[in-house]
């Protein structure tokens, strides 16, 4: 059984944050509340990244998701006045969707996660080593050799395309 120490305690706090926040996102009637729940859930994710020795990605998660995407979502909610006065939050097949989600989770848990990585499973469920790559190795991976230099540039191209496309779409065409 798990021993209770700071790491496991932090894990459970983050697990509650991310799952609870996720439930809030899909159930809240008010979309701004939904955005706040999304932020809570993403904070839980950032906590996991810290526990998993990837603090750089944790900071990026806060910066990108919480600092930028959440702000963008709130702007969009305001722009489309879609926050309130929506009589029905979910569509008619919502129970079907819930069934699909629950079955998927069951299938993943019973069919994949426990047999393979559970206690006594096929593969080890503890880290193979504590030699963790650092953030500057990430930079070396991107531009140090040929490995990821093409994806690195393509990412830039993708962002440029997304930005131009989004500006074209979002602006008033007649203006």
């Amino acid at each position: 059984m798990l021993e209770l120490n700071a790491t496991t305690l932090a894990f459970f706090v983050f697990a509650i944050l991310s799952v609870g926040g996720a439930l809030g996102v899909v159930t809240s009637r008010n979309l701004i509340h939904g955005a706040v729940y999304l932020i809570i859930s993403l904070f839980g994710g950032a906590g996991f990244f810290i526990l998993l020795s990837a603090p750089f990605l944790a900071a990026v998660q806060v910066l990108v998701y919480i600092g930028a995407i959440a702000i963008l979502i709130i702007f969009a909610v305001m722009l489309t006045r879609s926050m309130t006065n929506m009589a029905e939050v979910v569509n008619r097949q919502w129970w079907l969707s819930a069934l699909v989600g629950a079955l998927l989770l069951l299938m993943l848990a019973v069919g994949v996660i426990f047999p393979v990585w559970g206690d006594g499973g096929l593969l080890p469920n503890q880290p193979v080593s504590d030699q963790v790559a650092t953030t500057d190795e990430l930079g070396t991976a991107f531009v140090g050799g040929e490995d990821y230099v093409l994806p690195f540039e393509v990412a830039s191209l993708l962002l440029t395309g997304a930005m131009i496309g989004a500006i074209v779409l979002a602006r008033d065409t007649e203006a």
């Binding site: 900071a59 600092g67 709130i74």
Partner: protein
């Protein structure tokens, strides 16, 4: 490190362990004391800061400033705080109570959290995270969120409109700020705040990164909502901005947050560009390093106060144009120039070795980078002059008709 021995908190932890406590408990107590000290310090400091600000503004405007309560009016802010506590605070009808009440706390927390990674001296830092600088940028974005929450939860058009403007301002000025921060990282090769300060022992980053220091300073003024970018409280346009519905101590928290944030921004400027705690003797006597840091911060802070008292507020469209059409392009060009020059100095073999603390070893690279920066500043000034002249001539031609559009010789600049 031998300085750690004189750290009273470490001594206390050692005492606890010798008294029979477990190592976990001792380190927890150690962390707890550190947290309380670091988070309480700015909150106490802010009372003094508001006094300094009011005194400086008064001196610039040929007034006396607060001078009734206590010696030199020092207790004026304590009296103000007591007043704010005794005041009824009103939660407007239709407000979203939970978010409305959480917003000021989150706003203050977002500034306090920055102090956790500020290196006060070689031996004193809350947490020397390996990604300290990125942590600072990430935490700043939470402050933006707090303002958005405050504006939305108030259920007031003006508050919401004010919040939107502020958020647009904050996210816009974050772009040049972060691009400017990349250049010290290029030089130091690390994101840890303590290592960034150590990299400046030989040469302060303001010399090789002059342009990025200026960009960082300007965008920090905007990030903290200080004059001339204080549109957050544009009384004449938006009544008061996002915090209009807040009263009593909740308003007080927003105000304290603003002053604290301004000081924190100047503190970070001193840490990142003015060498932080570094100075003669700082390694031997960590407390001296703290004094150096506070002195450097004080100079920058007073400068921003004088700036506040002298410059008029800019209009929001001008402010946005200044950011997107001036600061962002300049910061990008500056980044490319710095990256190129650093690579060239390395090819020439005159770049200092990593961890070099000797001043002279840093001179050649810093000199070349400074030259690049000065050339960039010269180019910008020239471009501004010619574009300003073009606009002026176009304006003249439009208002005076054709015959005065002929420029008299020699009046062109």
């Amino acid at each position: 490190m031998e300085q750690a021995c004189i750290n009273p908190i470490d001594t206390l932890a050692a005492c606890l362990i010798s008294a029979g406590a477990t190592a976990e408990l001792a380190s927890f107590v150690q962390i707890l004391i550190g947290v309380v000290l670091i988070s309480a310090f700015p909150l106490v400091l802010v009372i003094l800061l508001i006094w300094v600000e009011r005194k400086v503004a008064a001196r610039v405007q040929d007034r006396l400033g607060p001078n009734r309560v206590g010696p030199f009016g020092l207790l004026q802010n304590v009296a103000d705080a007591v007043k704010l506590i005794l005041k009824e605070d009103i939660t407007p009808a239709g407000a979203d109570r939970l978010i409305y009440n959480a917003a000021p706390i989150i706003a203050v927390l977002s500034v306090l959290l920055i102090w956790a990674v500020v290196p006060f001296s070689p031996a004193h830092i809350g947490a020397d995270l390996s990604i300290g600088l990125l942590y600072f940028v990430a935490i700043s974005s939470i402050g933006t969120l707090a303002i958005m929450m405050a504006g939305w939860a108030s259920n007031n058009k003006y508050a919401l409109l004010g919040a939107f403007r502020v958020v647009a301002q904050l996210v816009s000025y974050e772009v040049p700020m972060v691009v400017a921060l990349l250049i010290p990282v290029l030089l130091a090769g690390t994101l840890s705040m303590q290592s960034l300060v150590r990299a400046q022992i030989g040469m302060w980053f303001i010399v090789p990164c002059l342009v990025s220091a200026i960009i960082f300073y300007i965008s920090n003024l905007a990030e903290t909502g200080r004059a001339p970018f204080d549109l957050i409280e544009a009384e004449s346009e938006l009544v008061a901005g996002y915090n209009i519905e807040y009263s009593g101590m909740k308003f007080g928290l927003f105000m304290a947050n603003e002053f604290m944030h301004a000081f924190t921004a100047n503190l970070l400027f001193a840490v990142l560009f003015l060498g932080g705690w570094s100075g003669p003797g700082a390694e031997q006597y960590p407390l001296l390093g703290f004094v150096y840091l506070m002195l450097k911060t004080g100079v920058v802070y007073i400068f921003s106060l004088i700036l506040r008292a002298t410059v008029p507020r800019v209009r929001i469209d001008h402010m946005m144009a200044f950011n997107w059409k001036f600061l962002v392009p300049v910061s990008i060009i500056n980044l490319l120039i710095a990256a190129l020059l650093i690579q060239i100095t390395r090819l020439l073999g005159i770049a200092p070795a990593p961890g070099e603390t000797d001043f002279l070893a840093h001179v050649p690279q810093a000199f070349i980078l400074l030259l690049g920066n000065l050339a960039l500043i010269g180019g910008i000034l020239q471009a501004l002059r010619s574009s300003g002249r073009r606009d002026r001539l176009a304006e003249q031609a439009r208002t005076h008709g054709d015959e005065t559009a002929i420029i008299p010789v020699g009046s062109g600049d």
